[in-house]
Symmetry: C2
Subunit: 226 residues, 2 copies
């Protein structure tokens, strides 16, 4: 095992959760030790890439954007396949959300580790959570623990995957963002399944976000931005 | 957990090892249950893709080729970076081969699992080996075991990663290919680091291959093909 120091790389999607994680990492490791990575995997909602860039800039950390053309080639998921609508519906056969992209978080974290390997970082931070709003098996704690072992062995370097939101509700995530000084940055994030800006307010993603802010008693700054 | 049956997907690079694994899978699962997948990850030696296609056709199984544009974007490895020669040299800092692409086998197997997920297969077969010719940490048995757990948990399906060559020497791999009727297909494979066809015979990859055939007492059919 070798290298890595105390540098951290945050997987930044441009959403509320990963943005909160970015501020968590800045507090935990110090701004000058934090960088972020975003994946352009052919997602229909291209606005996510701009949001990630803007969030990173607002937080004062670098943002690398890596392409992944493989998911679109695999096909069959709502996030990249034009023939399937992004929604909160579930696949009849697997009973997983239609937005489930097999292996997406595994791939993101493995490529993040490869990037971190080249840039002397051994801490990876991701906003996955297994609490009330997920349903994705690759967001579970046991999956992440197995993956941490696989990438550490596979790259011969001790990586740590941090999941500060793993057991937090949306309400608690909002409270964390507020405590870390990341509330203003929420105006720059994207959540809406319909890709709307301002958000549609009707889709499951918008409703879950609104519920979290309401329960935390905090006004979502995204609603006041244009 | 759901689905998958007894279908197997072989990660086929077009080389000697993965070709041997293809014949192993055909014997183990039956030809009609076997398919193959090849990754176009920007490797300099594009001939590998043709070899994989030809090997699969000769073996009578399908071959899907998936793009991965991410490794070239990451840069810094000899297999995709035009500024680094493919050789048997080691990186001064990490003491790993310059041909080591961080996470390559992890990514290949995870995307293979995603493809298998969509195509009702739960057996993955890969030609990695931790014996005398490797030096890649992602070829080790413990790495593969951890990854099997990560992808099974992360996709909520019990995958098995088969590594028939894990503890075989090159000599034993040649003997296995002969026993499985895969010797003729070796004429279609690619091994040479220099991308030459016929092979250069001078690079480490060519020398290791020649040593294996010599020790097995078998004539390499690649040497007689033009």
């Amino acid at each position: 095992m070798s290298g890595g120091g105390d540098n951290a790389l945050v997987v930044l999607s441009g959403g509320q959760d990963s943005t909160t994680c970015l501020y968590w990492a800045i507090e935990r490791f110090g701004r000058c030790h934090v960088s972020s990575i975003t994946f352009d995997y052919g997602q229909k909602h291209r606005i996510e890439l701009e949001c990630a860039r803007d969030v990173a800039a607002a937080a004062g950390v670098s943002n690398a954007c890596l392409p992944i053309d493989t998911f679109a080639a695999l096909g069959g998921d709502a996030l990249t396949d034009a023939s399937i609508a992004v929604s909160d519906e579930k696949d009849d056969e697997t009973e997983l959300p239609v937005t489930f992209v097999p292996g997406r978080n595994l791939i993101f974290l493995t490529f993040a580790a490869a990037h971190a390997y080249r840039h002397d970082a051994r801490h990876l931070v991701t906003g996955v959570a297994q609490t009330d709003y997920s349903g994705y098996p690759d967001c579970r704690e046991d999956t992440i623990a197995a993956l941490q072992k696989a990438i550490s062995l596979g790259m011969d370097r001790e990586f740590t995957i941090h999941t500060p939101l793993m057991h937090r509700s949306k309400k608690e995530t909002v409270e964390l963002a507020v405590r870390l000084g990341g509330l203003d940055a929420m105006a720059l994030t994207h959540t809406c399944y319909n890709g709307s800006r301002p958000p549609c307010g009707e889709c499951q993603a918008c409703r879950l976000r609104a519920k979290g802010f309401a329960e935390a008693g905090v006004r979502d700054p995204l609603l006041d931005s244009r």
